[in-house]
């Protein structure tokens, strides 16, 4: 594929609002997970909540979209001059040549969960409930498009925990096909009862901050995030260098709805295919930000896949011990972590992981630290066996 320029990016998560807070937290390498105090949830688990989200107000003209998920989007879009960068792209290319592809798993489902507590005696939902603009999967993509005044192609990509990684793939394909010149991609997923009680039902919630790759790992910590990237076609951008998406690979496990293939078959294929699309070899990757959820089976499967494709030399780790697992936004969170690793020439730490599981063989870097990084891979694997790997690097380091 043609490399795609990352013109602008921003992230809002439990690490803070915007890039400065995110960079500082990544450098400090400390977990921002805390005992779950979300809503009325009574579960023995830790979560990564976005600070002060309830203070975020949507513009009056878009008030019908008001829900936790779209507030996260609003908070995220306000950071780092992102909206201005999009407006500039819309001026240069035309608003109808800028697409919007947003990954989410649950969008604003919390709004429906809350509405079900307020059903009228007849069983009807309260009259103020707006399904389309809050709960519906498309709501986050439509909100982003309207908020930014864009008029191009738009979709929500919803493949569970690979959603926002695959959003890059959708945007990149439409650029390659000449339908659009630029795109806003990213992921927004926020805490809700469905995912908290859902992962609890699968016995996948850790009672401690998650510990990816640790011998004593016992599940995930849920997080939430709003992450946005502005992608531009490299040849149209007129920019000689900059951070870029170099490769994308996707696959399906075709194995099980909620467990990964034990040997990481689909994960291997996604990574292989990402290298192929970047025209790179296994030796060209300097760091892999793993999906690394901290469940026994996920980390073991991913370890198989990494070892069989990349071997035990390349440093790998997971940053979910810092951010938690942001589900449909995780792909974009970790894409951004990968890009910041490249910017800072530094592998982030893996707090929560104390001792690497001796049964896992990849070169897991617990402490992180300065390192020469040219190309970084980010993995995202989801329910339904949906896998996506992305490769990032500077344009000048493209094959």
């Amino acid at each position: 594929m043609q490399p795609v320029l990352l013109r602008a990016y921003t992230m809002t998560s439990c690490l803070g609002h915007g890039l400065a807070a995110t960079r500082a937290a990544l450098r400090a390498g400390q977990s921002r997970l805390a005992p779950c105090s979300f809503e009325t949830v009574e579960l023995d688990t830790w979560t990564g909540e976005i600070p002060a989200l309830d203070d975020t107000k949507l513009p009056a003209r878009l008030a019908r979209y008001d829900c936790r998920n779209n507030r996260a989007a609003e908070a995220g879009l306000a950071q780092d001059g992102f909206s201005a960068a999009v407006a500039d792209a819309a001026r240069r290319y035309g608003a109808n040549r800028v697409g919007v592809f947003m990954g989410t798993s649950t969008a604003g489902i919390l709004q429906t969960e809350l509405a079900y507590r307020r059903r009228q005696p007849s069983g009807e939902l309260p009259v103020d409930f707006d399904y389309r603009h809050t709960h519906n999967t498309f709501s986050i993509a439509e909100y982003t498009r309207e908020r930014l005044g864009l008029a191009g192609p738009c979709a929500a990509i919803s493949t569970a925990c690979s959603s926002s990684a695959k959003a890059f793939a959708s945007a990149q394909r439409l650029m390659d096909a000449g339908v659009i010149d630029a795109a806003v991609v990213g992921g927004v997923d926020t805490l809700c009862l469905t995912t908290l009680y859902g992962f609890n039902s699968l016995q996948l919630l850790s009672p401690q901050p998650c510990r990816p790759y640790d011998a004593d790992r016992d599940g995930i910590s849920l997080g939430e995030a709003a992450v946005f990237f502005l992608l531009e076609k490299h040849d149209a951008s007129g920019t000689p260098d900059g951070m870029a998406l170099l490769g994308v690979g996707e696959s399906c496990d075709a194995y099980h709805m909620s467990s990964p293939h034990p040997e990481g078959r689909g994960a291997h294929e996604a990574m292989r295919s990402a290298l192929e699309s970047a025209q790179l070899g296994p030796g060209d990757i300097d760091y892999v930000n793993l999906h690394g959820t901290g469940t026994p089976s996920n980390d073991a499967a991913e370890d198989h896949a990494v070892m069989s494709l990349l071997g035990g030399g390349v440093p790998v780790n997971s940053t979910k011990g810092m951010t938690g697992h942001a589900l449909g936004a995780a792909g974009a969170v970790e894409a951004l972590v990968a890009v910041l690793a490249l910017e800072e020439q530094r592998i982030p730490a893996s707090p929560g992981t104390r001792e690497r599981d001796p049964k896992l063989r990849a070169n897991y870097d617990i402490a992180g630290g300065p390192r020469e990084l040219k190309r970084v891979m980010s993995n995202s694997f989801g329910f339904g066996g949906s896998n996506c790997s992305l490769v990032f690097g500077r344009l000048r380091d493209a094959a």
């Binding site: 507590r117 009807e124 498309f138 738009c154 979709a155 919803s158 493949t159 394909r173 075709a254």
Partner: protein, 260 residues
């Protein structure tokens, strides 16, 4: 910029439209359309455990996808896939939200994994063994056109990889139905490639309103997001060349030209 493909196979499962071959004369106007409640299929290809667990959207999308693959004489295993749906499994969402509003919030693990928008894609992979990439996207009433655009872009990038587009929808139960009414269940599939000898299509974005349809088929088109595909299906059924504009986003339509 125009995107191009050949249509190798079609699948259809809707109210009074039981399969593409049975429905083609109806959509071509050769036989009158008689609306009947959609019968939810039960595809044998799913292992028994999965068949018990699968919701209506899974069954509907499998049935349409398998029909299109069979019509093209292709193994489903070899196909990349794009799944497009406005909102997924509303019955499952309703059951989860009801439980979460009560005192006992212990939702079932099956309900939870069925709640993901890509559940049909996951079950499709398990049923067929297809390990090729699969997308699951949503664009409210624009979902079919968004799926077709994604499918054509996939094909443009990898012309040697046929792609199956599956659009599906099942109505929500009350009280959600009042906020998102849908008239019935509906699924359809198009198997697109660059090499087949089926009808050729080209697609482009246009600033034109979507084409409507008269009568009961028109009501069906408006009543279910996946049925926004009907103008294209009717043109294919007629075996004529022509042009349709499909509903997409505000101010944008997806124009499709068919060369029979």
């Amino acid at each position: 910029m125009k995107l191009a493909a050949r249509i190798e196979g079609v699948g259809l499962h809707g109210p009074g439209l039981p399969g593409w071959s049975a429905s083609r004369p109806i959509l071509a106007g050769e036989v009158p359309y008689e609306p009947r409640t959609t019968v939810i299929p039960s595809p044998e290809v799913l292992p028994a455990t999965e068949r018990r667990r699968a919701g209506k959207c899974v069954k509907l999308s499998l049935a349409a996808g398998l029909e299109a693959a069979a019509a093209a004489g292709r193994s489903p295993r070899d196909l990349a896939a794009v799944f497009a749906s406005s909102g997924g499994d509303g019955e499952n969402v309703h059951a989860i939200c009801e439980m979460l509003a009560g005192d006992d919030r212990e939702i079932s693990p099956t309900r939870f994994h069925n709640s993901v928008h890509n559940a049909p894609a996951g079950y499709w992979g398990i049923a067929t063994g297809a390990a090729q990439p699969a997308d699951s996207l949503a664009a409210f009433d624009a979902s079919f056109a968004a799926g077709l655009l994604e499918t054509l872009a996939r094909l443009a990038q990898r012309p040697d990889q046929p792609v199956l587009l599956i659009a599906y929808e099942a109505p929500y139960p009350e009280p959600l139905a009042a906020t998102r009414p849908m008239t019935d269940a509906f699924s359809m599939a198009l198997l697109l490639s660059t090499t087949g000898d089926g009808p050729a299509i080209t697609a482009s974005l246009v600033n034109e309103p979507a084409q409507s349809m008269p009568g009961a088929l028109g009501a069906l088109r408006r009543g279910i997001p996946a049925a926004r595909s009907l103008p294209l299906l009717a043109l294919l059924a007629s075996r004529q060349s022509g042009r349709v504009v499909l509903e997409y986003l505000d101010g944008l339509g997806l124009a499709v030209e068919v060369t029979a």
